[in-house]
Symmetry: D2
Subunit: 124 residues, 4 copies
């Protein structure tokens, strides 16, 4: 997502301000949830038909919320010594096993559109 150099700049920014003292697993997780809520706020009342217009007209504000989540996630991964590249790769491998590539079926939402049925394969 972001370069090692930019990550180092984020770490330097925090260090220069002595903000490491405020960051721990709980405060960072909570802050990620709060920034995610701000991101979600843009579609709070949106119908399906509204979504493309929101994505265009609010692009700048949404981009800022995405950056906020990315920054906090970078701090948390750093502090917990999590290698993001490796963590994402492992998750991708797990998901590939869990949700095998379709062959003669189609993926679809269930009739009621709930997540548990999201990945059901319709056998033909």
């Amino acid at each position: 997502m972001i370069s090692d150099q930019l990550r180092d700049e984020l770490l330097a920014f925090r260090k220069e301000r002595d903000w490491e003292q405020f960051h721990n697993l709980r405060t960072l997780s909570t802050s990620i949830a709060l920034e995610a809520a701000e991101l979600m706020e843009h579609t709070q009342w949106a119908t399906d038909a509204d979504l493309p217009a929101i994505a265009t007209l609010r692009h700048e504000a949404i981009t800022e919320e995405i950056a906020d989540v990315a920054i906090l996630l970078t701090y948390l991964a750093h502090d917990l010594d999590v290698d993001m590249e490796e963590a994402v790769r492992r998750k991708l491998l797990n998901n590939a096993e869990k949700y095998p590539r379709r062959r003669r079926g189609v993926w679809r939402r269930s009739g009621i559109g709930c997540k548990l049925d999201l990945f059901a394969v319709e056998k033909r």
Copy 2:
């Protein structure tokens, strides 16, 4: 955070399963908020003193939640044509202006530890 190659693998994974149809600004934002909630769940009842032990003993599960947020954020940034590196850099510059590097002060939480006072500079 993650390499361009891994991002492309994530995009290929989604495409092979026809999951692009389920992803839009609202479903991805909501999913990011839900994964952030799962991350936060690890410290739901934790006292300050509990935090280091949780970070160690639950490292693997927490790493998975971090990866989940990163994956969804990668999809959203891609779909909205957001350059994450540029977005984070711009935010960092804004923050640097908003919260200037301290010189003869210290950063501290206010007496009541609320966010509005987090960045107050104590003049000496």
Copy 3:
């Protein structure tokens, strides 16, 4: 929402288990957010057209999430000595002032369906 008697039973349930020690402003707020996330999970991938069927087919599970939020909110209000009836009434009065009853206009979502424009009155 719930009777004083049921509230007292909730308080007795907690007391008998010594759970008051785990409840404070932060743990209860976080728990409310986590239960709200579980409630929201039911519509994570839903399109507008899916919503009525979800509300029907998942009625029992959704009812449980609503109860969870209500229980935690009851504990928090009690612990902070908040009179819910009075708090809601005051908020309602504030909202009535903020969003005056329409006369010759109609309320509508803005063209892009974002919350800031939700309450705009269209003058005729």
Copy 4:
């Protein structure tokens, strides 16, 4: 939590403004999650020691957030035809079965303070 009369006033408030059109299972769930996030924001950076002071000094703002959650929950329960009193009572009965009243043990957080261990009974 709130009286039937106040609930009816909330419903009338919404009807007079034609806001029923904006409320459905998804928009109300999302709004509850967003209000819960605002509630949680008050303790975003708080240490354990900060909590009592926040509860006192921010009492008014926190009371408003609690009211916001209660109002939205009232709308959702109404729209889904959920009897809050009955739903909470059933949940309380389930919880009483799931977490039996201690006799010769004590409830405690586990060594690492995570929710899965929250309700463990320590046998004596």
